[in-house]
Assembly symmetry: C2
Homo-oligomer: 157 residues x 2
DNA sequence: CCTGAAAGTAGCACCGC
DNA sequence: GCGGTGCTACTTTCAGG
């Protein structure tokens, strides 16, 4: 579901300072405001106010940690397309939501209703987890071999 | 490509405190160490050292900002499967990497070589952007209608 | 892993443009 | 409107236990 905006009508206007600030935060969200201020060439209070404004406008949703799945023992990643059997759509969504190894799931147009990302400790785990889904849906699974583009910022307006 | 670990052999061991800490950081990565300390029930210095250890071990890759695509004018999101034409695999990867609206791309097993996520200002932009890819690959596109599971942490060991 | 002191940082009120 | 300065309170870091 698309998040509501503080300003409901149009896309927020950003200036060069905002863009630099957002890039710096994308790079390291825990750096102090004083350091961010140095990077954007403003005083700390002004920078802090920019930050608050971007949060209030809804541009910034929050700040989060990026974990290394391998360090947690997730040596495999799969992308699963899921096509629920007739009448099973809502249940399938609930099943996916309840399996914590599904770290992300989008409902999409087209033949496959859901596209989800799955973290696995080993290939054995794949059948084990998908068994809970295949009762109610057809699945097709692709194993991730590499990630040419890791999550990055889109172009900023 | 899977990231190398500080400890090359096995998955890092986490205790309950580490798990609480990581969850708290996933929730808000910018909260002060003193606040994190309160949540895990440790002193600030001990919490800060945990944090440093988790980064050194490679469990924590970094901290980043979550932006609201709608606020930036990206009213549409698409997931594109890409099957390069013979001999075009490397070029296709490069083309995707160069188009900043592709915010994520995985190389996967199976018929479709790449699965990528695309941010769009409008549906018109879809053809415009995919034109650069379809010279060298077959694509199939699914528009995101909603996101039942937004990026979340997997189960922590 | 904790306490305590020193350095650094953030938040606030107020001023200037 | 937006940004800067100076003060106070908080937070982080390091020492030592």
């Amino acid at each position: 579901m698309n998040k509501r905006l503080a300003s409901p009508t149009a896309s927020v206007m950003l200036d060069e300072t905002d863009r630099t600030l957002l890039s710096a935060l994308a790079d390291d969200a825990r750096q102090p405001v004083s350091e961010l201020a140095r990077r954007v060439g403003l005083s700390a209070p002004s920078t802090a106010e920019r930050l608050r404004r971007l949060e209030a406008q809804g541009v910034i949703e929050g700040f989060t940690v990026r974990l290394n799945p391998c360090a947690l023992g997730y040596t495999l990643q799969a992308i699963v397309r899921v096509k629920p059997l007739p009448g099973q759509l809502h249940l399938v969504e609930e099943v996916i939501r309840r399996i914590p190894e599904f770290v992300e799931c989008d409902k999409v147009t087209g033949d496959d209703c859901f596209i989800a990302r799955l973290y696995l400790h080993s290939i054995d785990q794949l059948d084990e987890i998908l068994a809970k889904v295949t009762e109610r849906a057809e699945t097709s699974t692709a194993i991730v071999k590499s990630t040419p583009v890791a999550r990055r910022l889109p172009p900023l307006p």
